[in-house]
């Protein structure tokens, strides 16, 4: 379960740490040779940070999948060898997310060769995106191939991704962050729908419904980049999905006072609220098939 945390935490961190770095616009007095037009709308870091935070943690989702007792099948995951077919930064970023999710999934099931394969794919894509320097693959590999170091591994990768995110922000390349996030999210949703299709697990169904919030947030951010190549079709696809999700209802029911717990020596406040999800089976099926098609476009 700790392992499960690993990758999804990574994904989350992309988004969550988006507010860490802050550049002062006024300082940019350098003469910038115009090469291509910049995105017309400057996305405020605060906005992005807020959106990222509101995307629910996928930890629960992955746990649920494991709990259903679903068998591991590598064919459900993206093929690590096709990593070289992603040549533009758009696909590279999306699939970095996808592979990260797959890496976590394989790690959850202790499939060591697959873990290495996905790790390699992640490294390749990170290198291509010039963020490879933030990965200490040597240590990651050592930690991943021997069990028992999960804590350390988690900590290390957290640091890595914090730095990556900060780096991308510094360089005004946060569109990559949202793509990595979208890729990871889509892959997680896809895996959930797949398992749900077989098991018809109720919790999974709820989980699928919960993603309505995440999708709304993602689309909100993606919309800023709608003028970049490739983005429009992704946005369009996700909007199709959003149409289905619009029929899903989420009600929040308070169950009492918030509870304070100590986790790893830190105090954490947990809301004592419960979400109630209303989603029809037909919609789940529709989501399942739509996700499948979006995902297949992403990994193409």
């Amino acid at each position: 379960m700790k392992k499960l945390n690993l990758v999804f935490a990574l994904l989350l961190l992309f988004g969550c740490s988006a507010q860490v770095a802050n550049t002062d616009e006024s300082r940019e007095t350098t003469e910038v040779p115009t090469v291509v037009e910049t995105s017309p709308v400057q996305l405020s870091d605060d906005i992005v940070a807020g959106i990222m935070q509101s995307i629910p943690s996928p930890i629960e989702t992955s746990l649920l999948i494991k709990e259903t007792g679903a068998a591991y099948s590598v064919s459900n995951l993206n093929d690590p060898t096709i990593v070289t077919t992603y040549n533009d930064s758009y696909r590279q970023a999306l699939n970095l997310g996808v592979y990260s999710t797959d890496l976590g999934f394989a790690n959850l099931y202790d499939k060591n060769q697959d873990v290495l394969n996905f790790l390699n794919s992640v490294k390749t894509l990170a290198d291509k995106l010039n963020i490879g320097q933030f990965f200490d693959y040597k240590t990651i590999k050592e930690l991943a191939s021997s069990s028992g170091n999960v804590e350390k591994l988690l900590q290390l990768t957290q640091q890595n991704f914090e730095r990556i995110n900060s780096h991308l922000n510094d360089q005004k390349r946060e569109n990559l962050s949202i793509l990595i996030l979208t890729g990871g999210w889509t892959e997680a949703l896809y895996l959930t729908t797949l398992v749900h299709q077989k098991t018809k697990n109720k919790k999974l169904k709820e989980k699928i419904g919960e993603q309505k919030v995440a999708l709304d947030q993602i689309l909100l951010v993606l919309d800023f980049y709608k003028n970049k190549p490739n983005f429009p079709s992704l946005i369009a696809d996700l909007k199709e999905l959003q149409k289905v999700y619009n029929r899903v209802e989420i009600k929040t029911i308070s169950t009492g006072k918030p509870v304070t717990k100590e986790v790893n020596g830190e105090l954490v406040v947990e809301d004592a609220t419960v979400s109630q999800i209303n989603i029809s089976d037909a919609d789940v099926d529709l989501i399942t098939s739509l996700t499948k098609s979006i995902r297949s476009k992403i990994i193409k």
Partner: protein
């Protein structure tokens, strides 16, 4: 003599002698004495009986009975006349048929001798009737002896003395005490006091001399008494001794009669030459010679006496340490004067100097082509065929020469061909080193005959000869004998030599130079005397000589006084007209090409080697990665960088091996042709033309097969071929260099690894240039030590071009390198500088030396690197950086620097983002072409791009992306995307390995073309060293160093 011929001769004798007056006893006795020379008593009886039968000897003499019956009726007389006429017709027919029979068997010389014999028979009783003469004349015409010549022969045989008017001819020579009358054409040699005269006749067509003595003195020919009025053959090496006068040697006569010699004014004077070997030993001591045209001089001596050395010095191949060799007064060892005697010297070495792969005709033809500029091919062909004909080589004209192991023509034929090569250009002086060694006695004799003939035509010929047969020995005009240590011990008539040495050692019969009975000279005895050893008390030979070389030499000084010829003061005539340099190149090229083409093994291996190796290698490394779903994809072949390296090594190897033996193999031929003063550059150019062509074909087939199998697109074909061809040419010239510097092929082949392995080590493909010994490597630049190896340039050239210009990367390269550079600046460079700022701040107030040093170093780094940042400009900062020093650096300055670096990051970060977007647009545009179905750029990449090569050129396997070296930062990230930096001046060509461009002369050049130019530049340099033989001189300098202590003797 065969039975048949003897029978024919017998009949001829008989028919002639029975004519008119019938057989006389004198004639019969002559015939008997003729038989006695060849036959035993019993057989002689048979033939004599035969003679008697045909000559009707002992029957009633018809003429006698005719005389007795003088009063017989007219009827009877008519009857007799009729019968006679019928007999005469019959006999004429018989003579003709006999003549034809003889024609089939005897040589022309022998036939001339037969004629003399027949005439001599008539002389025996001086009965020259018209009929007899008519028959002999008929026979002469059947024998193809010209009428004029026959008339002279007849006159010579029949005349009683030389004053006969018919004998006034150039081919007659008198040896007498009285000169012939003024205006006579006959030659004359003063004999000293002599009764009568000795008449010489030269039968020009067969070059034979006969003598007839008309006086009453006792004269000896080769120690045998000459009968009065008998006609005797005067053969090579013969001596006539008269009671009172000086002896007459054959050679004196020959030169005297042969006036051609006088047309070639030539003096060859050797004045006291000494020769010192490199080890200091003397090879020749005070050798002096003086010769003119038309002489055949033999040089003899024990082995190791310095014969070949002498010959080499005389021919100008070796420089004497003292003394001089003058041809017509021109010193042949003086580089200036030498020019006047160019082409006058011919040299036939002991070894074969033939091009084995060519035919006899071709060998001579191309040699002749190099000698005669103004003859066209037709005239040359005629000339060559004539020379071949005169040497008896015309029948084997179209046979390949072959080598010693694979014999196509005999040893004698080879030797004659060697001589022909020199002959065809007609040098005035010819040197031959043991032309008869290894030849049968028949072949030896033919060769010396040929030389003799040449000398008679006015050439001066020096021949080293070893243990000649008596006949050969006697053919020499003079013999020069050397003793061990290079002491001259004899110089004079060959036959006299034996007498001289006998006399000096007080042996019996010292006046007999040759065997009384057979006229043979025992050459072996000569050396037995010279080298006779002292016998000890047990009768065993000791190592000590009876007469030491020094003693012989002292005797020589006493007995021989060389009469020095006056130097002819004019340039010797030249027959040599060498063609222009381009023409020479062409001739050399054709000759070499023909030789190579006719060597089928050589051609097959050279042409098949490349494609076979390519096939083998590419099939083995055609690697199908598990990642490649649909069969083989070029992209996934991890072996491509290694393939490129091996291609280069193979090209180098093929280039080296094909050229390494070229000059060594030709060395002998070059030695011979050095006398022609042909252009070295023409020779080398011809080599280059052939080798480069071969390299072009080899590398072409190699790349064709290799690239096709490995799926390297056609677009890169020229990239590979041009680079491999260049490398191969480089190797060719390198190979020629070592080939011209070392003496044998084995040394050269041992050297090849020495030249090849560093090419591999320093190619950059096996060992990372950034990880070499610190002494040789400089971080961030390809090491200088690698720059001298062609492989490094070629490897870089192909790799970079293959990467940069394949259709996939070509589309994206413009963005990729900018993204990479922006990334480097924003991520690595900036952070290193930030670290430097921090380091400066930390050590700002430190007092320890080490800390100050860190401070100074970091400050220097900051100054240098910031000064080179050109894109993010800030005038205030530039000023600040400029003025930064250990004393004025403070926190405020640090803050300013950090502030600037933050801006750098933002600038380059966004540049990277924008470039990345632009790159995505390009890919998007490619994948969504207007009006066409979508396509994937991944397919393009799979087909033309290679993953492993990319990793290699982007240095992806190294974690070290940036390092600080002194006051500069070295970028290890993406070398192929990094333009050269830290260029110090306009002549600085150095850049990091795999740089996409190269700096030189203040400009940037495409790496591929720049590197090829470098390879060709190195090739050119090697050509210069080859032309001036610098390596050879260098090697020679080393070989002078002695490794073993000098043996004391």
């Amino acid at each position: 003599m065969s039975e048949e011929i003897l029978k024919a001769l017998t009949q001829l004798f008989a028919i002639i002698s029975k004519q008119d007056t019938g057989v006389s006893d004198a004639e019969r006795n002559f015939v008997i004495s003729f038989y006695q020379q060849d036959l035993d008593r019993e057989t002689m009886g048979e033939y004599l009986a035969l003679y008697d039968k045909y000559a009707e000897y002992g029957l009633d003499d018809e003429p006698a009975s005719g005389a007795a019956t003088a009063t017989a009726t007219a009827d009877g007389e008519v009857k007799v006349e009729k019968k006679k006429r019928a007999t005469r017709v019959n006999e004429a027919v018989r003579v003709l048929s006999l003549g034809k029979k003889i024609n089939k068997t005897l040589t022309q010389k022998q036939k001339v001798i037969v004629l003399f014999k027949l005439l001599e028979m008539l002389v025996s009783d001086r009965n020259f009737t018209a009929q007899r003469m008519e028959i002999i004349e008929t026979l002469a015409s059947v024998f193809n002896v010209s009428r004029a010549e026959y008339k002279l022969i007849e006159a010579f045989a029949t005349a009683e003395d030389a004053s006969h008017p018919n004998l006034d001819s150039e081919d007659i020579l008198l040896f007498d005490d009285q000169p012939p009358p003024e205006g006579a054409k006959v030659g004359y040699i003063d004999s000293g006091k002599l009764d009568g005269e000795i008449v010489f006749i030269r039968v020009k067509s067969v070059d034979l001399y006969f003598i007839k003595y008309t006086g009453r003195d006792e004269i000896y020919l080769n120690g045998q008494l000459v009968k009065r009025n008998s006609i005797v053959l005067f053969s090579h090496g013969s001596i006539i001794k008269t009671p009172k006068g000086a002896p007459l040697y054959y050679s004196d006569l020959a030169t005297r009669v042969n006036r051609q010699a006088e047309d070639h004014p030539l003096s060859f004077n050797i004045d006291g030459i000494f020769f010192k070997f490199p080890n200091g030993a003397l090879g020749l001591r005070n050798v002096s010679l003086s010769e003119g045209p038309g002489k055949l001089i033999g040089i003899m001596g024990a082995s190791g006496a310095g014969k070949t050395t002498l010959l080499n010095v005389l021919a100008g191949l070796e420089k004497p340490s003292e003394g001089q060799v003058l041809i017509n007064g021109f010193n042949i060892h003086d580089p200036e004067q030498k020019k006047h005697v160019e082409g006058v010297i011919g040299y036939v070495a002991q070894d074969d100097l033939l091009i084995e792969e060519l035919t006899v005709f071709q060998n001579l033809f191309y040699n002749a082509k190099l000698c005669f500029r103004d003859l066209d091919d037709e005239a040359l062909t005629t000339k060559v065929i004539n020379v071949l004909g005169s040497l008896g080589l015309d029948r084997i004209m179209h046979l390949k020469v072959g080598n010693v192991l694979n014999k196509k023509i005999s040893g004698g034929q080879r030797k004659r061909l060697n001589i022909a090569l020199e002959l065809i250009r007609e040098p005035g002086i010819l040197f031959l080193d043991e032309p008869t060694s290894g030849l049968s006695s028949r072949d030896s004799e033919n060769v010396i005959d040929l030389l003799k003939e040449l000398s008679l035509k006015g050439k001066l010929i020096f021949t080293v000869i070893h243990q000649p047969s008596s006949d050969i020995y006697k053919m020499f005009d003079k013999m020069f004998i050397l003793d061990t240590g290079g002491f001259p011990i004899y110089y004079g008539n060959p036959v006299e030599a034996l007498s001289y040495f006998k006399r000096q050692t007080r042996q019996i019969a010292s006046d007999k130079g040759q065997c009384m009975a057979c006229g043979n000279v025992n050459v072996e005895q000569l050396f037995n005397i010279i080298e006779a050893r002292v016998v000890d008390e047990y009768g065993e030979f000791t190592g000590k000589r009876k007469v030491t070389p020094e003693e012989w030499s002292d005797q020589y000084k006493q007995h021989f006084n060389i009469e020095r010829r006056a130097d002819v003061r004019e340039e010797p005539p030249k027959t040599l007209r060498i063609p222009t340099k381009p023409k020479q190149t062409l001739i050399f090229t054709i000759r070499d090409a023909l030789a190579k083409l006719s060597d089928k093994q050589y051609m097959a291996i050279n042409l098949l080697e490349a494609p076979v190796l390519a096939l083998l290698m590419s099939l083995v490394i055609r690697f199908r990665s598990s990642e490649a779903k649909e069969g083989y994809l070029f992209f996934y072949n991890d072996n491509i960088p290694a393939y490129i390296l091996i291609c280069i090594i193979i090209a180098l190897f093929m280039g080296l091996t094909v050229s390494a033996e070229e000059i060594i193999r030709d060395r002998k031929i070059l030695k011979r042709e050095s006398f022609l003063n042909l252009s070295r550059s023409s020779y080398l150019s011809s080599k280059l033309i052939i080798l480069f062509s071969l390299s072009a074909v080899q590398t072409f087939t190699f790349v064709l097969v290799g690239n096709l199998i490995l799926g390297i697109g056609w677009g890169q074909f020229i990239t590979y071929w041009l680079a491999l061809f260049s490398v191969s040419c480089f190797a060719n010239v390198l190979g020629l260099n070592i080939s011209s510097s070392f003496d044998n092929a084995v040394t050269v082949y041992i050297l090849i690894p020495l030249l090849l392995i560093p090419q591999m080590i320093l190619s950059g493909g096996i060992f990372d240039f950034d990880k070499l010994n610190n002494a040789v490597g400089q971080k961030g630049k390809a090491p200088l030590i690698a720059d001298v190896w062609a492989s490094r340039w070629a490897y870089e050239a192909i790799c970079v071009r293959q990467f940069k210009t394949n259709p996939y990367e070509q589309m994206l390269y413009g963005y990729d390198w900018q993204i990479s550079q922006a990334n480097y600046r924003a991520s690595y460079w900036r952070s290193e500088l930030e670290k430097a700022v921090v380091a400066c701040q930390e050590n700002l107030t430190a007092k320890t030396d080490s800390a100050r040093q860190v401070f100074a170093q970091n400050l220097a780094l900051l100054k240098r690197e910031l000064a080179e940042e050109k894109q993010v400009k800030d005038a205030r900062l530039a000023k600040l950086v400029d003025g930064l020093s250990l004393t004025n650096f403070n926190d405020q300055a640090a803050a300013q620097l950090n502030d600037y670096l933050a801006r750098v990051q933002v600038y380059y970060g966004s540049l990277q983002g924008r470039m990345s977007d632009a790159r995505d647009s390009v890919i998007y545009a490619y994948e969504h072409p207007k009006g066409q179905p979508e396509r994937s750029i991944a397919d393009l990449k799979n087909q033309y791009h290679n993953e492993q090569l990319e990793k290699f050129l982007k240095n992806e396997n190294s974690l070290e992306k940036i390092t600080a070296e002194g006051d500069r930062l070295v970028q290890h990230l993406d070398p192929v995307f990094t333009p050269p930096y830290h260029v110090s001046n306009v002549f600085d060509y150095r850049a990091h390995f795999f740089a996409p461009t190269k700096p030189f002369g203040g400009q940037m050049w495409d790496t591929y073309y720049f590197n090829l130019v470098v390879i060709w530049f190195m090739t050119l340099l090697l050509y210069v060293t080859l032309y001036f033989e610098l390596l050879r001189k260098f090697v020679k300098m080393f070989s002078k160093v002695k490794f073993t202590p000098k043996a004391t003797s």
